[in-house]
């Protein structure tokens, strides 16, 4: 197996791990949206903050992946 193919496979594994984590965060964000739609204002505000944290986590994971890809 050539180093290029090995690197490509490694990046694919990392992307799969990142995707799995991001999908979990996206599902949580979807649930938070459903909570915010019919919750009391205070709970809706808390859901909004959690969704923001999820968005930040998604961008951090993507940044981590792109950094790993660049350094590889």
């Amino acid at each position: 197996m050539s180093p290029k193919v090995r690197l490509n496979q490694r990046m694919r594994v990392i992307l799969n791990m990142v995707t799995a984590l991001v999908v979990m965060i996206l599902l949580t964000q979807l649930w938070l949206f459903s909570v915010a739609v019919d919750a009391a204002p205070k709970i809706a505000a808390a859901a909004l903050l959690c969704s923001l944290a999820g968005l930040a986590a998604v961008f951090a994971l993507i940044r981590f992946f792109l950094k790993a890809e660049l350094s590889a």
Binding site: L48, S51, I62
Partner: protein, 158 residues
Amino acid sequence: MSREFPVRADEDTYVTRREFTKFLGLTSLAFFLGTALAAGRRLWKKIAANQTEAARVAAVNEIPVGGYALFRYPTGDDPCILLRLAEARFVAYSQECAHLSCPVMFNAATRQLECPCHKGLFSAEDGRVIAGPPKRGLDALRVSIRRDEVWVKHESES
């Protein structure tokens, strides 16, 4: 072109890793914006309601004990219901079900407010959920009697 994989290589659309991660990021952003819209709408309604003045609903003798009156407060798009549970006990709630905003109706026999859409039941005493899909109680209004007239105002946090 094989039967097992009937897509020609030159016709296939190739998605790069960067495009895929961009798609994930944009999906997350869309979910966040949706949540912000929903939460903002609820918070805005709450703030606007707290700034509205008290409104007269009816004269005391217009509503019999066990009866109710429908009205709109604070705007024409906000249906509410005033209940007379006893001689000197009035309560008022938003008529919008906390589940999907169907109008709730008063059942004097059971002393409950019923949502006909998904069978949500609320206590007429305090608006709390008794049964059904709603996760929270009805929004209550503060009721006061002034010169034999029933007035309502939004409950403020303080």
